[in-house]
Subunit: 419 residues, 2 copies
Amino acid sequence: MAIPNAFYAQSGGVTATINASAAGVLETARRHKDRIRRVYAGRNGIIGALTEDLIDTSRESAAALAGLTRTPGGAFGSCRYKLKTPEQNPLQYARLIDVFRAHDIQYFFYNGGNDSADTCLKVSQLSAKMGYPLTCVHVPKTVDNDLVGTDNCPGFGSVAKYVATSMREAAYDVESMAKTSTKVFVMEVMGRHAGWITAAVGLAADEANDLPLLLLFPERPFDEAPFLAAVAGKIASHGYCCVGVSEGLLNAEGKFISELGLRDAFGHAQLGGAGETIAKLIREKLGHKYHQALPDYLQRAARHLASNTDLMQSYAVGKAAVEYALKGLNGVMPAIIRTADRPYRWKIEPVPLERIANHEKMLPKNFITADGFGITARARAYLQPLTMGEAPLRFRNGLPEFVRLKNRAVPKKLQPFTI
Amino acid sequence: MAIPNAFYAQSGGVTATINASAAGVLETARRHKDRIRRVYAGRNGIIGALTEDLIDTSRESAAALAGLTRTPGGAFGSCRYKLKTPEQNPLQYARLIDVFRAHDIQYFFYNGGNDSADTCLKVSQLSAKMGYPLTCVHVPKTVDNDLVGTDNCPGFGSVAKYVATSMREAAYDVESMAKTSTKVFVMEVMGRHAGWITAAVGLAADEANDLPLLLLFPERPFDEAPFLAAVAGKIASHGYCCVGVSEGLLNAEGKFISELGLRDAFGHAQLGGAGETIAKLIREKLGHKYHQALPDYLQRAARHLASNTDLMQSYAVGKAAVEYALKGLNGVMPAIIRTADRPYRWKIEPVPLERIANHEKMLPKNFITADGFGITARARAYLQPLTMGEAPLRFRNGLPEFVRLKNRAVPKKLQPFTI
């Protein structure tokens, strides 16, 4: 009997460490060549499977695979493309199975967040229903940290380390300027629905770093008066104030602050992000000079400041995914289980996808301080270990050196398919 | 005869490495206790001298001084405060001399950019005129890299490394998303008058990193049609496009793009920075989804990604300043002289402040490619060495550990002075 192949794809927004998960999958599969002949990667995620645009990862050197752990972005391309339900679009699922059958693919590794966990589950169910032998394992990844069933999500720890470091560094800068210039610094961070990244900004301040820091969580509707009073209080006590704002900050009516259409002095709508809106509000109401930063993709691409804990976990879930599949576990996800806070200990365990798909893990209420502007000791105990350890890069000519794969296409065997 | 004291102050926008210059001044002075009794730092720059708010740096431990090389911001506080000319406000200068005389300060070390070089020169001339023995040395610093007389400015190399690394990392991210999502990434960088930092973004692309990168320099008036054609060309060839935009980008009439008041679909003025304006223009005219980043202070505070070359030079100019003063050199600045490009070699030499004050070093025309959107080989040869070497930090609990000085005040001897 011929040794079957495996399929791997990256899905949704990429992270600083998603390629480490790819390395975990690919290197582990290579150690089991008696069970997995080759791993084919989807070019641009699941679209590569639908269009039979497969990448033959066996053409990549061992050094290139190792280099994946040092390279941000998605090395095979990702996509924002959600499969319809099998009822809505049965042809899509039939096509996937056709492609898998044509290329003798019997393992399906899908590296993504909530939506892709759901897709992975559906593919698993459909293939069983259609009598095609396919073992499906979801590999978790999302900077949003909102997957249930796992203590944390690969990709998040590195963003947490980046936003906390950036806020701490900027605070030292602003403190020096505050006497005669900038008194308010606002940084907007990702996380439209859950405040995990916003909470991580809170790590910038600690016993050794008494920073006047306020956080605006998407979980807490923005209330202007107490917020401005808190800003004024920080400026009174410290001479300046730093604010970490979630891009998903809402007002009392549940509308995004960034879409509020505040009007400027000329009656024009003030568009722009939540951070900019908050910064302008402070200037308008309190009269302070501000600076505002919007790290945007920099925060999730910053491999140079990745958390080594995150990097190891990202690799570990990729490795475990292959091991689970080889054990015959189907429709599962390797989850990160925390076994101790201090010193931090973790392990990987399989969790059924039914428990994960279509759920969202929100920031616990007891992670936010009573005033709504800070994080509790409980939040720190959870967040801090995820940022631990550095994972330095190789630099060449002053800049980080990343790998670029060959990404050679597997010859097509089927007719084109329009997605 | 009593051993005199020295005065040190930080001026203007701070950098990731200005505290390394402080360490160079303070540690070198401590090695010459027979000539300099104590170094008093101005709290919040020259304002500390005018208000007699002096910090006794002799109270800081050797470990704390060493820690300055690892700490961003200005450890004694900086200020944006330009002294008037001696003709406009002779009282200010008289007050400075009064304070210096009261505290037996005979050395003046002023750590800043163009304005402070001018101030340093004026203080030097005035003290001579008033018969007060004061040796004045300017310590260069500016992320803008626009001081003449020196090959480059301390602080710039680290920003260069940060913006180039950030753009490279983000490009790897965008490339993975471009098939179905973000096709354009825009990052706005500092440098309102000269395009040095914009040029440094260009280092992100090189032989090993074929990135579709366009730069918009403050030296080149923005011309919409060729720019949009270039964006479309990059998207055609690479599937995506990255743009580095100077905050000081001007239109053909010499107005800041960020103040152009472009109107959105509702006829409302689109305020916001140059980067945001360019990003929205691309979406409006070419229809592509964009992401935009505004690193703002993060770029100049990012000690975690400092260039070791920059760090060594920042320390070296502080050290040289004290050595020059002890040799009796007055009204000079330690300049960085490049003696070779490859391998890069540099040395420090004194330059008279008359040659520096009130001049601005612009980006040479031959650093920008003919199409106006890239950097030449000549620019690379200049920029690349400045980014070389890493200067890793100590991390504690996942985040960089910075020093905080005691900053104990020197008892006042004079009447208050209103600035």
